[in-house]
């Protein structure tokens, strides 16, 4: 802690302040138990009944809130019907066919697009955007889905993604643009975005269901809330980063404000904006499991149902089908953005629009062929592959052969590391922790940050969630450290090797989009329920962020600086430690920040294997339909995330100032 000392201008020596504060805390921790028991356990009588207040407010919002004669829930229901229109249109093309009537008495007037047509269209889109290799990738991905018998469910999922992603991108971009133009909005939006991203979806699922109705629409709304923030953040950041020269150029050629935004700024910020689109797609596919719990069906439902039967193979196949969708959508959208505007073609209508012409003929041809050969309409059952038996046998073999070894490793880590840390964290007096957080905030970022950290952590104690919050911090803290310890070296190893990075990227994309449920149950079989299993799940997910940002930072280092270093006779090791890592430090710190966010977002999943943290509170509140409790626990998770985020940012700024890298906006 002392290493992160503040600017030298403050009068007392920083180490002195920290020394005094830590000794005070230690004294309280060791001997305070009898003198000041309230410092250890927040007295029940002083608790703020936040759960009751929030529960009441939600109740009012969904039942009584009205603007004149129009109830709030009428407005949301209207929004729901607006979203439902494009959704059911896409669904009928991809999955159900054109129906007349509803439910089981509905009559299919026209069948959905044959699977072969969808496959062909994706291949064409891939070819249009990125040439033959991308076309091949899309065919492999979509073919995988068909061969493993997930086509029908995948189309249900694809329909909701096709509706949700453009809405999230457009909404996120509009908010980001507005925030970039109006600084006060930027400031106001920041905490809201933090909440949207860190609050577990389960916490606000019940109110959403009541407001938007049960079904795919609610799932899309929940997806929007979860997937939009990265787009907004990245938009604002990217527009700020556009160099001044570009602004000057725009002004010189006499752009109107509209032209300035759309013709100058957005194109020059295209690269980072596409990172935002990528994140929206990944986040949306992340929601597939939760969306299926509230009526969206699709691949998420297949995963849940398969794991309930412990059919790991089917669960994995459906999970990988989600990954295949993610990879297809992501690679195609990236390639579309990179593709420079083609010159206008000459000739007649078909010559001018060759791709549209091919697309139409693919549809026409496949619909005709599908009438002759039903196997082209619906992928035939007989040609399906299944790996269920293989996976069941594989898991059984590992279980029988290696269980004892794994058990020994697990016990060593559990008894040697996890349990002592957990006991230590739980024994800390909350008063001391709140005070130390306040102090850290003050030293790193001034009194405002100090006040923020102290008051947020105090609120966690005051709403009676201290113990569970500490378990949360312990689990996510250890998981983040392990993820960084694994992720940073991997990032260093692959950053400058194209081939290795391509493979690594496929692996981490898979880890990010494969529902953790898929590997959670086999892990339970090998390691039993409990903290260790939860730890594995959290690390597997959070390591994605640490690898991604380390690579981002290292790849961004100016090659001329490395050349200069080499010219001065630096060894490879010196170039790595003195130049590359040092210059990539801000990104690596951002990676740490994101690793923590990813870890916190896994809390609800870890509750499913029996940890006793805040995630469990959120989950229990959902199962008891108690939105007040869920939101309070969700807010506590968000507070932990915000404290961690702000402190790391402030530390990064301090570090940056020391290195003379200047301020980052």
């Amino acid at each position: 802690m002392t290493a992160l000392s503040a600017p030298e201008t403050l009068s007392p020596r920083p180490s002195l302040i920290w020394g005094a504060a830590l000794s005070l805390a230690a004294i309280l921790w060791l001997w305070g138990q009898t003198v000041a028991p309230f410092a250890f356990e927040y007295p029940k009588a002083w608790q703020i009944p936040a759960a009751r207040w929030i529960g009441g407010a939600i109740d009012w919002l969904v039942k009584d809130a009205a603007i004149g004669p129009i109830a709030f829930s009428d407005v949301t229901r209207f929004v729901a019907t607006l979203i439902e229109q494009p959704y059911s249109a896409v669904l009928s093309i991809l999955s159900t066919g054109l129906l007349s009537g509803e439910g089981s008495s509905a009559v299919q007037l026209w069948p959905p697009l044959p699977w072969i047509a969808v496959l062909g269209l994706f291949a064409l889109l891939g070819f249009y955007a990125g040439g033959a290799s991308l076309a091949l990738t899309t065919v492999i991905c979509m073919g995988f889905i068909a061969v493993f018998g997930q086509w029908q469910s995948a189309m249900d999922t694809l329909a909701s993604i096709i509706v949700a992603v453009p809405l999230a991108v457009a909404g996120g971009f509009a908010l980001g643009l507005a925030a970039w133009k109006t600084p006060w909005l930027d400031r106001a939006l920041k905490p809201v975005l933090d909440l949207m991203q860190t609050m577990p979806v389960f916490a606000y699922l019940v109110p959403i269901l009541i407001l938007f109705g049960f079904g795919p629409t609610s799932a899309i709304v929940a997806t929007l809330i979860f997937a939009m923030p990265p787009m907004t953040r990245i938009t604002t950041l990217a527009l700020h980063r556009v160099p001044d020269e570009v602004h000057d150029l725009g002004r010189m050629v006499g752009c109107t404000p509209r032209q300035m935004t759309w013709r100058v700024l957005v194109p020059s910020a295209r690269e980072p904006l596409m990172v935002g689109v990528n994140q929206v797609i990944m986040q949306s596919l992340n929601m597939v499991i939760i969306a299926s719990m509230i009526g969206a069906g699709g691949l998420g439902f297949v995963v849940l149902n398969a794991l309930r039967r412990l059919d790991f193979g089917t669960g994995l196949e459906a999970g990988l089908a989600i990954v295949a969708l993610a990879i297809t959508l992501d690679r195609v959208s990236q390639a579309l953005a990179r593709r420079s505007r083609a010159e206008l073609r000459q000739g007649n209508l078909i010559q001018r629009h060759p791709f549209i012409a091919v697309a139409l003929s693919i549809i026409l041809l496949s619909v005709l062929l599908a009438r002759l050969f039903p196997a082209l309409q619906t992928y035939p059952d007989a040609a399906r592959l299944s790996t269920s038996a293989f996976w069941a046998a594989a898991v059984e073999w590992i279980n029988i052969t290696f269980f004892d070894t794994l058990e020994a490793i697990k016990n060593a880590i559990l008894l040697g590391l996890l349990i002592p840390v957990k006991r230590f964290m739980l024994s800390l007096p909350w008063v001391a922790v709140v005070a130390l957080l306040g102090l850290a905030g003050w030293r790193l970022g001034g009194w405002r940050l100090g006040a923020l950290c102290a008051s947020l952590s105090f609120l966690i104690a005051a709403t009676g969630q201290w113990e569970k919050a500490m378990i949360t911090v312990y689990l996510c803290g250890i998981a983040s450290l392990i993820a960084m310890a694994i992720g940073v070296p991997i990032g260093i190893a692959v950053a400058n090797r194209d081939r290795a990075w391509t493979i690594t990227r496929a692996v981490i994309d898979t880890l990010q989009t494969l529902p953790s449920f898929v590997y959670l149950m086999p892990v339970v079989m090998l390691f039993r329920v409990g903290d260790f299993t939860a730890l594995i799940a959290v690390v597997a997910y959070a390591v994605v962020a640490s690898i991604r940002y380390t690579v981002l930072g290292l790849q961004g280092v100016d090659p001329r600086l490395i050349e200069a270093g080499r010219a001065m006779g630096c060894t490879d090791r010196q170039i790595l430690t003195r130049i590359r890592l040092r210059l990539a430090l801000p990104e690596i710190l951002l990676g740490l920040n994101q690793t923590i966010m990813f870890a916190l977002s896994m809390l609800v999943i870890t509750a499913l294997v029996g940890t006793r943290d805040l995630g469990q509170d959120v989950y229990m509140a959902l199962t008891k339909a108690n939105p007040g409790n869920g939101l309070v626990a969700g807010l506590a998770i968000a507070f932990i995330a915000i404290i961690a985020d702000r402190l790391i940012h402030a530390a990064a700024e301090t570090q940056r100032a020391k290195l003379g890298l200047g301020q980052q906006t």
Binding site: E102, S105, Q108, W110, Q152, I210, I294, F403
Partner: protein
């Protein structure tokens, strides 16, 4: 369910036939709404079977039926608002609180019991009898050697009992204390985690004792027994003086529970006939157990199992919709 129909013969003849079939069936129920009745599907086989059985019966009566995939507990707001209409399996043992809260809003109505009984209790694989010869009598668990056989590194020398998710309740901590059992209660987070552990232990013939419920595929797939605790009485849970331990409640086994049908309160007015049919629906544990085994262990499709039952029990389901 949503599934496209292979398209061989062209569109019109098929569409026309279906149209005639449905319209004639609907004519019989002219006074009722033609909107689809939405039944919720959850993620376990028994519930999928029960729901599709009900759905098929309602279709025979000429109703339009739609299945909606929904989480077991997240479905209640949908049932209250009328977005969803019928939930076919609400277990006393797991959804009691949520159901009570939902009924209290006045928007959800219980359509009676399904006739199936939820049984839940401590359960062990049969090979554990070698190490604890006194089982299934609960007193065998008090032997230190027996408890040790069930222990792990974290709990030793106490035995490790794997309980259900905390949300299920069950009073196992209280039971362990009241009966003075040398066991520690560990909670699985979900049902899937519970059975993953059982499968793992069974493959290795390793010790395990855990919470199992029935009707479920696990008692059919794995050979084992329920522990026999002192039988449950209502007083045992409420009155400390009743039972073996005069100073503590919960010194007995777990209660059997009903499995309820429930749904949107408006169903009665919108589809009165369907309301009666749903109320009349009953099955018993044995029938259900057989059907679950067919699906989960013999790999038959749910549709096929449901169709078999419909063919074999025509008299029964005809009576439900005849009322």
């Amino acid at each position: 369910m949503r599934r496209s129909i292979p398209f061989l013969t062209g569109l019109r003849p098929f569409g026309l036939a279906a149209l005639i079939a449905t319209s004639s069936a609907l004519a019989a129920m002219a006074q009722e709404s033609t909107d689809p009745i939405k039944l919720t599907l959850h993620d376990w086989t028994g519930q999928l079977i029960t729901t599709q059985l009900m759905g098929e019966v309602l279709k025979k009566a000429g109703y339009s039926v739609e299945y909606v995939q929904a989480d077991y507990l997240a479905q209640f707001p949908g049932l209250e608002s009328g977005d969803l209409h019928v939930a076919m399996e609400l277990w006393d043992t797991t959804a009691r609180d949520a159901l009570d809260a939902s009924v209290a809003t006045g928007n959800v109505e219980v359509f009676g019991a399904t006739g199936m009984q939820a049984k839940e209790e401590w359960w062990y694989p049969i090979y554990m009898k070698e190490q604890c010869p006194g089982l299934p009598n609960w007193e065998a668990l008090k032997e230190p050697a027996c408890a040790e056989a069930f222990s792990t590194a974290e709990t030793a020398p106490k035995g490790r009992y794997l309980g259900g998710p905390v949300t299920w309740g069950g009073y196992d901590e209280e039971r362990v204390a009241a009966l003075d059992l040398p066991f520690e209660v560990i909670h699985a987070g979900t049902d899937a985690a519970l059975f993953a552990e059982l499968e793992s232990a069974y493959q290795r013939t390793a010790p395990i004792i855990l919470w199992i419920y029935d009707p479920h595929w696990a008692p059919a797939k794995f050979e084992g027994e329920f522990v026999e605790f002192p039988p449950y009485t209502a007083e045992c849970y409420t009155d400390p003086s009743v039972g073996l331990n005069p100073d503590a409640a919960y010194d007995c086994g777990k209660p059997f529970g009903e499995i309820w049908k429930a749904g949107w309160v408006g169903l009665k007015d919108k589809w009165p006939g369907a309301h009666k049919a749903i109320q009349a629906f009953t099955l018993d544990n044995k029938e259900m157990g057989l059907m679950i085994t067919e699906v989960d262990l013999n790999g038959k499709a749910i549709d096929a199992v449901v169709a078999d039952w419909m063919a074999a029990n025509e008299a029964r389901w005809s009576a439900w919709i005849a009322q």
